[in-house]
Symmetry: C2
Subunit: 263 residues, 2 copies
């Protein structure tokens, strides 16, 4: 099942999106319980999709794809293992919302990633139990100012500033339909009217598995319903400039597209 | 005026605490508006003080005291300027609540710091205007596993795990009573029944002023009411072990004390 959040002429609501991605059926509560339909239904083209979750935090695992570690850090993953960083709730935007780049954030790159959305409050979850605490999966673009990332040392500003956390288009709850060890991840960048596929990788390049990441993250942090865990970016990240459009695509979920603007 | 949050036999509420720190008068709303008293009043010894704010995020400025940069990073502040990191809402605990150290978090140190609490949603605030967006000041103990901090590179886990963000005892809103360029900050560690003053510094050691930090932080992050900005730790941080008790003291605010336990 696909849960989205939509802006309608009657206000904001969570909704169930059909598999064709054409209609949204409003629900009374949140995506964390069985859906209670209100009876309101919208054509998706008549509403605006918002970020499908309102996380209290995004816990992200960095350096989780060997190919990306090599391209960005010029080192082997063996010498530079995965690390954890946090993106705050205020960086989250939905599908279609602009990524706004201020003057001081130079070298801003996209990073298309699989994201998991927690469904229950949890701590100290075993790797093998990860699906029991996760409501579903979605896509995150871990937008990063590569210059600020290295200048600051800490990644909070480079990756956490307003609009640097596009999430969507919806939460897919049917985890069994995915082979998480063989899931394609692509990112297509449109620049000057020309679209190129920049990221074209697969979750089989992950260093830590999703279960291992859940166990690692929940050993330190209580995760709350709606909280997002980003699972790392594969290789192929590249600079975006105002006027560009970036679309991240994961089969079985869909695609998350955002224009790039000057803040 | 001092705003606290208290657990009473009748539930949780925000309250105005008197200057002697002996009584709590319950208010109907939050600390972000003029207080509307409910008429309920408690002796402070009959209730439990909780963290006085429920931040959506803590944005912290690290390496903001030259003496602390020298002791931890073995470099001069000139070569290692201040940096920004994020502590998530789930690390926050109140006065008296235990700091719980898991086995894998070694070298856990206290860092007593002045914290500001934002009062309005804001972005791009000028340094000279900082008091207009801040509701008040409080104390934060930026608890840090020094080993994880250097092992991970990113500080999210070392400084952001559950219970590593004690805040309190209350929010002091009368900013005019402070000289923020000459404010003593102390931390007293009790170990094996013996109390020693470990941090004994002053905000006159800050590299960036509070206003400069507000301008820097709000250039990247929208700050929301209740969000906390930590202003950096002075020198004197030291390792705490289970059984210890750590108390951070700032004149004009009060003191924030927490026991240390094994998680």
């Amino acid at each position: 099942m696909r849960f989205g959040r939509i802006a309608t002429p009657e206000g904001m609501t969570f909704a169930v999106i059909d598999d064709e991605g054409t209609t949204a059926k409003a629900i009374a509560g949140t995506p964390f319980t069985e859906p209670e339909y209100t009876g309101k239904e919208w054509a998706l083209e008549d509403v605006r999709l918002l970020a499908p979750t309102l996380p209290s935090k995004i816990v992200a695992v960095g350096r989780n794809y060997a190919d990306h570690v090599a391209e960005v850090f010029k080192q082997s993953a063996e010498h530079l293992p995965p690390t954890i960083f946090i993106k705050p709730s205020t960086c989250v935007v939905g599908p279609g919302a602009p990524i706004k780049i201020p003057d001081f954030a130079t070298g801003v790159e996209f990073e298309g990633e699989l994201a998991i959305v927690y469904g229950v409050p949890c701590k100290n979850v075993k790797a093998s139990e990860w699906k029991s605490v996760v409501r579903g999966v979605t896509i995150i673009n871990d937008v990063s100012s590569r210059d600020l990332q290295f200048q600051d040392g800490q990644w909070a500003r480079a990756k956490g500033m307003d609009t640097f956390g596009p999430i969507g288009p919806w939460i897919e709850t049917d985890l069994d339909k995915f082979d998480f060890e063989n899931l394609p991840i692509k990112a297509h960048l449109t620049h000057d009217g020309k679209t190129e596929t920049k990221q074209d990788s697969n979750s089989n390049q992950m260093i830590m598995s999703i279960g291992e990441m859940v166990e690692w993250v929940t050993a330190s942090f209580t995760m709350l319903p709606g909280d997002v865990q980003a699972t790392g970016s594969p290789a192929g990240t590249a600079v975006m400039v105002p006027g560009d459009y970036i679309e991240v695509e994961i089969p079985g979920i869909g695609s998350l597209g955002n224009p790039v603007e000057r803040a």
